[in-house]
Amino acid sequence: MEPVNRMRVEFTSLPANVAFARVAAAAFASQLDFTLNDLEEIKVAVSEAVTNAIVHGYENSAGGTVVLAVEIRKNTLKIVVEDTGKGIEDMEKALQPAYSTDPERMGLGFAFMQSFSDSLKVESKPNAGTRVTMTKVCARKASSPAGR
């Protein structure tokens, strides 16, 4: 059996929880021997995905629940951010840098997620929700699970 360490957190779709989500993800990720720079990138990638869930998925209403699931398997971190909000109509456009359906936003969320992870997968269904999956490999050898 391959040992896997998992966490899954659900939280209210409030802007103040973006900071909570990135700190939680980075605290969990720090069990691998990531560099400080890697941890910063993880924070930004998680913030962008969670921000999208709140702003686009739930259209800034505080009535939704965002899910952040993080998994460590060997030296690979897997991050999933999920909402059950309005979903993405045109996936191809959404993934283009500088494209946004909101004139006040930059359209760089997915570009940052892509740059800061080793793989990015976006699944979405209009009126059902969106799931973003990112992986990031830790280049340095992982310390033992108890070793920090």
């Binding site: 802007p15 913030s47 962008e48 702003v55 936003r105 930059m106 760089l108 740059s115």
Partner: protein
């Protein structure tokens, strides 16, 4: 987030500190818009990111929006004091293509004032 605004001749000096994300984007946008409304003589904006520990696209979007407002009248935006990590995000966003970076507030104000 902490925000300090000073008017220096034709320039507005904005000192930002803390974490600039979705939680503070609205407050920051509204504050900057109000300052620009109150000070119609302002042509250029200098943003000092010296105290910023974290920024992402929600924060950068607020800066870009204010740049758009002043650039209509030929105004420019200048950036100083970004830490290496913040600078990297700003650079990746493309903002450094339209906003010049200076080593110090004084240098930036020399060009902006």
């Amino acid at each position: 987030m902490e925000l300090q605004v000073e008017i220096k001749g034709g320039a507005m000096l904005v000192r930002l500190a803390g974490e600039i994300d979705l939680a503070v984007a609205d407050t920051l946008r509204t504050s900057l818009e109000e300052e620009l409304d109150r000070n119609p003589g302002v042509r250029n904006i200098v943003i000092n990111l010296g105290g910023v520990r974290y920024i992402d696209s929600s924060g950068l979007g607020v800066l870009l929006g204010r740049y758009r407002r002043i650039s209509g009248d030929g105004g420019r935006m200048f950036i100083v004091g970004a830490s290496p990590q913040v600078r990297r995000i700003v650079e990746m966003s493309g903002l450094l293509n339209i906003m010049q970076e200076f080593p110090s507030e004084a240098d930036a104000l020399n060009h902006a004032g």
